[in-house]
């Protein structure tokens, strides 16, 4: 009896022991991802989860160069109209299916043809996909597209199991089957997403967790409280006022990096009647508004200096930044002079902004600064979905709004500044800019692209449809026990090499 009992106890303890050695990483997200299907989803936090679930054809390094992931090498041919990729051997999907060129073809077709797909515009430049051999695939483009690699480094390049996709159709989001380091276990809407280690992952040696749990905690104070209490190991989007608290905590650390996006003031140039104001019509008035704003002070007052002031659609750290046009200092005298010249002294306009605390504070600071130059800014807090509609319908004069940013500079400007751009809410239209931007996306020559974008920036600096103010930094708070986290400008949490010290 005693022996059986002690054997049972020993077995029990072994079980407990093995359970205790299962390493779990708990990450706090600021929003809940939407449907977990790379072809259908649209949320930023969804992409963070995909970083663990789905491998892509190519990835980026912290300097935004493209590196192999599912594709091991690639080359352009046919004047930039064909991209041939060699694929990694021995990769399987979470359901055991083999990853090969046919799978790539099936994935791209799905992105193009699935009715619910939100990737259609991204893969529009791909005409056909050829399976050259099981490990070689060729993309044939309608016209050269320098942004293709960037596209394939994001959701459109995430490879899902064709078998699972065919079976589930649009319902794949309920149980995503990819080939990444972790596989899907369960999801409780607006609470958590649980993933477990995929043992057959090709790079499994770099993964040191058995389980990852993403928890959605929208309130930033509560998210931080969870980290402080040890219920989270890491959180994304630490609120700037909390940076000092985290730095003072001996158990926590702050990690940050300048992101790919920007925040600024989008001005209605030509979108309906409300653009017929001095602000919308006269670049001098827009320049005056820009000169009245002290970007450094704005950053300091509202964000404790956490972000990076900027004046172009890429950050000063980007290789595409036009160094000949640095961030201007505040110049109230010049602003007043310009307003006088334009005959718009005391000009009053309405600026709308999303009604969250940070944007509200920033809007108030802008209002105060602009008033010293002679502007009368009326503020209007608007709920986000409404604001989108108003902007797209042209029912605004100025909006304080930003853009999350894309790896390729084209993603930060083409859709906003070309005459027929899909997100061109300003309805700014300059055929010269169109020509330059279209040329920049058609050549793979880096030096050539830099020159083209530099020219665009010069023109935009003269005409200023959008006043770029700063580039938000991505800020994470982590437990000091978490080692090996490398911040990337695209804000994705890459789990390779991360481990928890005991």
């Amino acid at each position: 009896m005693t022996r059986k009992l002690s054997l049972a106890v020993a077995a029990g303890m072994m079980l407990i022991g093995s359970a205790a050695s299962a390493e779990t990483l708990k990450i706090g997200l600021a929003d809940d991802p939407d449907v977990l299907d790379p072809d259908q989803s649209r949320t930023f936090v969804g992409r963070i989860v995909y970083t663990a679930l789905c491998d892509k054809l190519v990835d980026i390094d912290p300097d935004l160069n493209f590196v192999p992931q599912l594709a091991t090498s690639w080359e352009w041919s046919d004047g930039g109209k064909a991209l041939t990729m060699k694929l990694r051997d021995g990769v399987t999907f979470h359901d055991g299916e083999k990853f090969d060129a046919a799978a790539v073809k099936a994935n791209i077709e799905r992105s193009k043809t699935l009715p619910e797909s939100r990737r259609k515009s991204e893969v529009k430049s791909i005409d056909t996909v050829d399976v050259v051999d099981p490990l070689t695939v060729r993309f044939n483009l309608k016209a050269p597209d320098a942004t293709l690699l960037a596209t394939l480094s994001d959701r459109a390049g995430m490879m899902m199991s064709p078998k699972a996709a065919a079976e589930a159709g649009a319902g794949l989001g309920a149980k995503l089957v990819c080939s990444g380091p972790f596989k899907f276990v369960e999801r409780v809407q607006q609470d958590r997403i649980v993933l477990e280690k995929f043992p057959a992952y090709w790079n499994a040696a770099t993964i040191h967790f058995d389980q990852v749990i993403y928890r959605t905690i929208p309130d930033s104070t509560v998210r931080l409280a969870n980290l402080q209490a040890g219920d989270l190991d890491m959180l994304e989007r630490l609120s700037p006022p909390d940076i000092a608290t985290v730095k003072a905590d001996s158990k926590l650390q702050v990690v940050d990096v300048v992101g790919l996006g920007y925040q600024g003031i989008t001005i209605n140039n030509n979108n309906g009647d409300r653009s017929k104001t001095p602000l919308g019509q006269d670049p001098r008035v827009r320049k005056a508004l820009e000169l009245s704003i002290d970007r450094t002070a704005l950053n300091q007052v509202v964000f404790d200096g956490a972000h990076l002031p900027g004046n172009q659609f890429v950050s000063p750290q980007s290789q595409f930044y036009n160094k000949a046009i640095p961030v201007p200092a505040r110049d109230v005298a010049k602003a007043k002079a310009l307003l006088k010249e334009a005959g718009a002294e005391g000009f009053s306009f309405e600026m709308q902004f999303p009604n969250n605390p940070d944007m509200t504070r920033a809007a108030q600071v802008i209002q105060a600064m602009a008033s010293e130059a002679g502007f009368d800014v009326k503020l209007r807090a608007t709920e986000f979905a409404t604001m989108l509609k108003e902007q797209s319908a042209g029912n605004y004069q100025a909006t304080e709004v930003g853009w999350s940013g894309r790896v390729d500079p084209d993603g930060n400007i083409h859709a906003f500044a070309t005459c027929k751009g899909g997100i061109n809410d300003t309805k700014y239209c300059n055929p010269e800019v169109d020509k330059l931007l279209d040329a920049a996306r058609r050549t793979n020559d880096l030096a050539e692209r830099k020159k083209l974008y530099a020219s665009v920036i010069e023109i935009l600096d003269r005409e200023r449809p959008i006043i770029y103010l700063y580039h938000p930094k991505w800020i994470w708070a982590l437990s000091k026990k978490l080692q090996g986290y490398k911040p990337y400008p695209d804000a994705m949490i890459r789990l390779e090499g991360m481990k928890k010290a005991s």
Binding site: V35, R118, R215, V222, N226, G230, S404, I423
Partner: protein, 313 residues
């Protein structure tokens, strides 16, 4: 009485239908475009057109309502535009959470509020009464979310006694479930307790002044029996009314508390759905909540019969 009960049950249907129509109309009046809100940052025109087509957003409002109502009668509450999950599945996931939170909160409210109200009424004018009133007023005045955040900072961060947020199903881990629910239930319960306490107190005071209580005392009935059998039972009627209303509100989802403690219940669901213009989800949650509310009111009316025979006619 059975006839009355059945008549009331039948009357629920037009009430719930009217509420659903009203909310449907309200949603349409919201500024903003659901297709635009859900299409994604890139605003791909093909995506927008597809969303409009699939969810009949181009049709007139009464046609859209017709589609929804047709679905409801077949047991299909539609699909969440944001997540592609059937609304019924979402509701099934979230209803138990909200029910549990509501029941726990109301239990705490009753356990604190009613005895405090009774004692306060009995000891009227004494320091105990004063203390109870001050506590009640604090409970009513302190915002839920503020109390919630303070509790998290104290109990979870400083003391480490309870998890800071999250939710665990009682079927998976009952102890963890209690640990995650006790703080939000307490926060909700204390503010309701304040209301219950005030109503119990005033109801008791009124009943204690009544003729039959005076008669019972004159007859020499022991004070404890006077309070419990005569006074308390009659004082319960307004308390049942208030309790039912509060429970109904709780079932609609305690938005702020759920947000602070990250409890995946109705409250959070409906707020997110409104911001995302996810019409079907809002309709589904409202349908559930209004049904619950109406049924609770019916239950309250039945309770009156039991408590006070004079109402039975």
């Amino acid at each position: 009485m059975l006839a009355y009960f059945l008549r009331r049950l039948v009357g629920i249907v037009p009430t719930v239908v009217l509420v659903s129509m009203f909310v449907f109309a309200l949603q349409q009046m919201l500024p903003g475009d659901p297709a635009l809100a859900l299409a994604g940052e890139e605003r791909d025109p093909e995506s927008i057109a597809y969303i409009r087509e699939k969810y009949h957003l181009n049709e007139p409002i009464w046609v859209q309502y017709g589609y929804w109502m047709g679905g409801v009668l077949k047991g299909d509450l539609g699909i969440s535009l944001r997540t592609n999950i059937p609304v019924t599945d979402l509701l099934v996931q979230k209803l138990p959470v909200t029910i549990q939170l509501a029941l726990m909160a109301i239990a705490i409210a009753l356990m604190i509020g009613i005895p405090m109200g009774v004692l306060s009424a009995l000891k009227r004018g004494t320091p105990l009464d004063w203390l109870a009133n001050v506590t009640a007023l604090s409970g009513l005045s302190i915002p839920n979310f503020w109390l919630g955040v303070l509790l998290i900072l104290l109990v979870s961060v400083k003391l480490g006694w309870l998890p800071a947020s999250g939710y665990e199903s009682p079927f998976d881990d009952p102890i963890q479930n209690l640990k995650t629910m006790i703080m939000p239930a307490f926060v909700l319960g204390t503010s309701i307790a304040a209301t219950m306490m005030r109503h119990t107190r005033s109801a008791m005071l009124e009943v204690l002044r009544s003729d039959y209580v005076r008669t019972a005392r004159a007859k020499g009935v022991r004070e404890r029996f006077v309070i419990l059998r005569h006074a308390f039972r009659n004082a319960l009627i307004p308390v049942v009314t208030i309790g039912t209303l509060q429970l109904g509100e709780l079932l609609a989802g305690a938005v702020l508390t759920e947000q602070v403690f990250t409890i995946p219940g109705f409250g959070k669901q409906i707020v997110d759905a409104v911001f995302n213009r996810d019409y079907a989800v809002v309709q589904g949650v409202v349908l559930c909540s209004s049904l619950a509310f109406v049924l609770l009111n019916l239950a309250a009316d039945m309770a009156y019969f039991l408590l006070n025979p004079r109402i039975r006619t």
